[in-house]
């Protein structure tokens, strides 16, 4: 039944006194919001996605954008989103897909955790004049070391160490596949990560040959579709990550629509061009924790035990028990992805309602692994909604070894979190394969944005640590005493194992 259109999401206006009719807005908008009519730019606001590309490119600051120009009757229960999803489904009868992470206004636990600083009694450290140790090793750590004294008086290490990734910062770039994002975006991220001596994930899309120069800084992913996975791919990666689940859509598979599978994407994923790339919800060779352990060991056998193997799960209710199972499976790291994690496409109900916040998941996993005496068996990598260096610092204080950033890294390339990635027309050249759009990212220039971001955050983390009198990331890890909860209830404080503000030391 026709119920007419919903109000436009945005209203775009141009100040005619400022506009010089250069038409850059027309060129930059792939959605057709602007067109020239005589001496005027005509605007079709309904086409606008709020990506800000025109605003960023207008030489005269002539464009204004207003979000939600037409209000619904305000109502505390019936939000605009709830009403609009119903109008949509009343007409289609289908599952509503959305882009980017959780869009509900859920409380951010990170914002209610406060960090500590030294005053008088224990002096703070100035990172300028004292060494700060931010180097992070991802992988298994031995429970104890056995050493031997040689007759010459030297010391030999007898314990065989498992391979670890050596990162100069606790920040890595999350898995975003070629196909979901453009090759130019991937190249910028990879080079930026390599520049900062850290790592980035390939996502489940194979490894394009132009990324081979950065392969020592890439973590190759193996997910349920096994796209692009062969022995060469596994051997190229610095580490291998098995993706079981994703915070933005726990429990369901992935699905790259055929129209995004052009020749080059097809070659990298090793599937025919324009065919749908369907990743089933589970790995169909993993139906139990024993099967998972079999895949972990199988990957290790195939690569001669030279590569650390990570397992990524979405943060769900029993995340701690699952992480403990993973820790006992020969895996080297467990990646937990919280429910605020981003994605190119996810069903709205999953994105907003399935999973738990990363803060609680980190604390629960760290506590469980410690309780079972196996915290050394795996590194914990946290992801899902990490926005700045304070979030990173808090995640580590809650018990993570390191973090993955996804959306934040894309924002460093210009992404405006407009949430229209699924349309394949990203005006910033990120979530698109259209050549004129991907050409908007020059990896030789844009990699610097990525490395600047990681560099800046890393500097901030060392300042925050120094202020707290901590000179090594190891002393920050799981150091919940350096956190205080602000306006958090007692239950969540007990899960986080954090005291309230004002509590005695």
């Amino acid at each position: 039944m026709p119920i007419g259109s919903v109000p436009p999401k945005y209203k775009v206006t141009i100040d005619k006194d400022l506009c010089m009719l250069c038409e850059r807005c027309i060129e930059n908008c792939p959605y057709g919001t602007f067109r020239r009519e005589g001496n005027k730019i005509q605007i079709f606001s309904r086409a606008c996605t709020g990506c800000h590309r025109c605003i960023a490119m207008c030489p005269r600051d002539a464009i204004s954008l207003q979000e939600k120009p037409i209000d619904y009757r305000s109502h505390p229960v019936w939000s605009r989103e709830a009403r609009e999803a119903i109008y949509n489904q009343a007409q289609t009868g289908k599952i509503v897909l959305t882009g980017m992470g959780n869009a509900l206004n859920v409380p951010q636990i990170f914002d209610r955790l406060l960090l500590d600083a030294c005053q008088v009694t224990n002096p703070s450290i100035d990172p300028l004049r004292e060494p700060m140790e931010l180097r992070t090793y991802i992988g298994k750590k031995p429970r104890k070391l056995t050493i031997d004294k040689t007759p010459e008086g030297d010391i030999d290490l007898v314990t065989k160490l498992a391979p670890n990734l050596k990162c100069e910062t606790p920040i890595m770039i999350a898995h975003m596949s070629y196909g979901a994002i453009s090759l130019n975006a991937q190249l910028s991220l990879a080079r930026g990560a390599a520049e900062e001596k850290t790592f980035m994930g390939t996502g489940e899309g194979g490894l394009h040959e132009s990324l081979y120069p950065y392969q020592d800084n890439m973590i190759v992913q193996i997910a349920s579709g096994r796209f692009g996975v062969d022995i060469d791919y596994l051997e190229r990666g610095a580490a291998i990550e098995i993706k079981i689940g994703q915070g933005a859509k726990p429990g369901i598979g992935g699905h790259l629509p055929g129209e995004k599978v052009d020749e080059s994407v097809s070659k990298t994923r090793m599937i025919p061009p324009f065919s749908d790339a369907i990743s089933p919800a589970p790995h169909h060779d993993i139906y139990s924790i024993e099967d998972l352990s079999q895949l972990v060991r199988s990957l290790k056998e195939a690569t001669e035990w030279k590569k650390p193997v990570f397992v990524k799960i979405a943060a769900v209710h029993n995340v701690a028990a699952i992480a403990a199972g993973i820790a006992r499976s020969s895996a080297d790291a467990v990646v937990i992805d919280g429910f605020r994690g981003g994605t190119g496409t996810a069903p709205r109900v999953f994105r907003d309602h399935v999973g738990i916040p990363i803060e609680a998941a980190i604390a629960a996993v760290d506590a469980k692994l410690n309780e079972q005496g196996i915290r050394n068996e795996v590194s914990v990598i946290a992801s899902g909604g990490i926005r700045d260096s304070a979030d990173v610092t808090k995640a580590i204080a809650l018990g993570a070894d390191s973090v993955y950033i996804g959306t934040a890294a894309l924002v460093s390339l210009g992404c405006r979190v407009c949430g229209n990635c699924y349309r394949g027309l990203c005006p910033w050249g990120i979530a698109t394969q259209r050549e004129d759009l991907t050409a908007r990212i020059d990896p030789d220039i844009m990699y610097k944005n990525v490395s600047n971001l990681i560099h800046g955050w890393t500097l901030e983390i060392s300042e925050l640590m120094g202020a707290a009198g901590i000179n090594s990331i190891e002393s920050l890890r799981g150091n919940r005493d350096r956190l205080r909860g602000y306006m958090l209830d007692e239950n969540i404080l007990s899960v986080l194992d954090v005291k309230t503000v004002g509590a005695d030391v």
Partner: protein, 250 residues
């Protein structure tokens, strides 16, 4: 190329040292490796390359046999366990017996021949790419969820089981969006999963599967002309995009 054979007695051996020995032998120029007294060692042949290598296994290998393998031939003179040929890229596996669940899981290329029956989820998510077209041939019968999510390749069930239909459990080809199944014998419609449909079995199809049936017969010493002349049920995708109709955009 000169044939060079090495026999390894795997009695009581863990899989890691065993695979190490195999790799060392390949480096040494060995072209045929005979493994004696195999008893459940997993991951044999994982990630091995090179098409001039043959591994002969006497005994029952454990799970993920020849996973990620790219080239060699592996002959098992016994039953095999869970997921032989998992995510395999190239090469051949012949199993003189039965095999467990998820045989040829996600295989992209190469051929897997199982003389007798296989377990659940056979050929699940097989896919093809360019000149790579994976083939799974099962001699007797397969359990439920055969060829689910197939994105390419050829899956043949010869239905040689005595008093046993080639498949009599549900979920055949659920979510299939590429490739084909050929099943000799009856496959009632209600066993087909969503997205799968029966197609005509043409002379072209018969020609297409003939070389694989020939290889099966040659390897396992089977002489049954009806395997070539009988009708097969041909099952393929009803659409290349089984999930396209499920979603709308925000």
């Amino acid at each position: 190329m000169m044939k060079k054979t090495l026999t390894i007695d795997a009695k009581g051996m863990h899989y890691t040292p065993l695979n190490k020995e195999i790799r060392a032998a390949i480096k040494d120029g060995v072209t045929e490796i005979i493994l004696e007294n195999i008893n459940g060692q997993r991951f044999i042949g994982n990630g091995l390359r090179g098409k001039d290598l043959t591994i002969i296994i006497n005994g029952v290998p454990g799970g993920d046999l020849c996973m990620f393998m790219s080239g060699p031939t592996c002959i098992v003179h016994a039953n095999a366990e869970h997921a032989p040929g998992n995510t395999m890229d190239r090469g051949k596996i012949y199993i003189h017996g039965t095999a467990g669940d998820a045989v040829a899981h996600s295989m992209r290329g190469g051929e897997v021949y199982v003389r007798d029956s296989i377990g659940y989820r056979g050929g699940i998510h097989m896919k093809e790419y360019k000149d790579k077209c994976p083939v799974l041939v099962v001699g007797e019968y397969a359990r439920a969820f055969l060829g689910e999510y197939m994105a390419g390749g050829i899956l043949i069930v010869l239905g040689r089981g005595k008093d046993q239909p080639p498949v009599d459990e549900r979920g055949v080809g659920t979510g299939i969006h590429g490739g084909e199944l050929y099943i000799r014998g009856e496959v009632p419609d209600h066993l087909l999963g969503i997205g799968a449909e029966k197609k005509p079995f043409t002379e072209d199809d018969r020609e297409k599967i003939r070389p694989y049936i020939e290889k099966y017969c040659r390897e396992f010493g089977v002489d049954e002309p009806e395997l070539f002349s009988d009708e097969y049920v041909h099952i393929g995708p009803s659409s290349a995009r089984p999930f396209a109709g499920k979603y709308c955009w925000e």
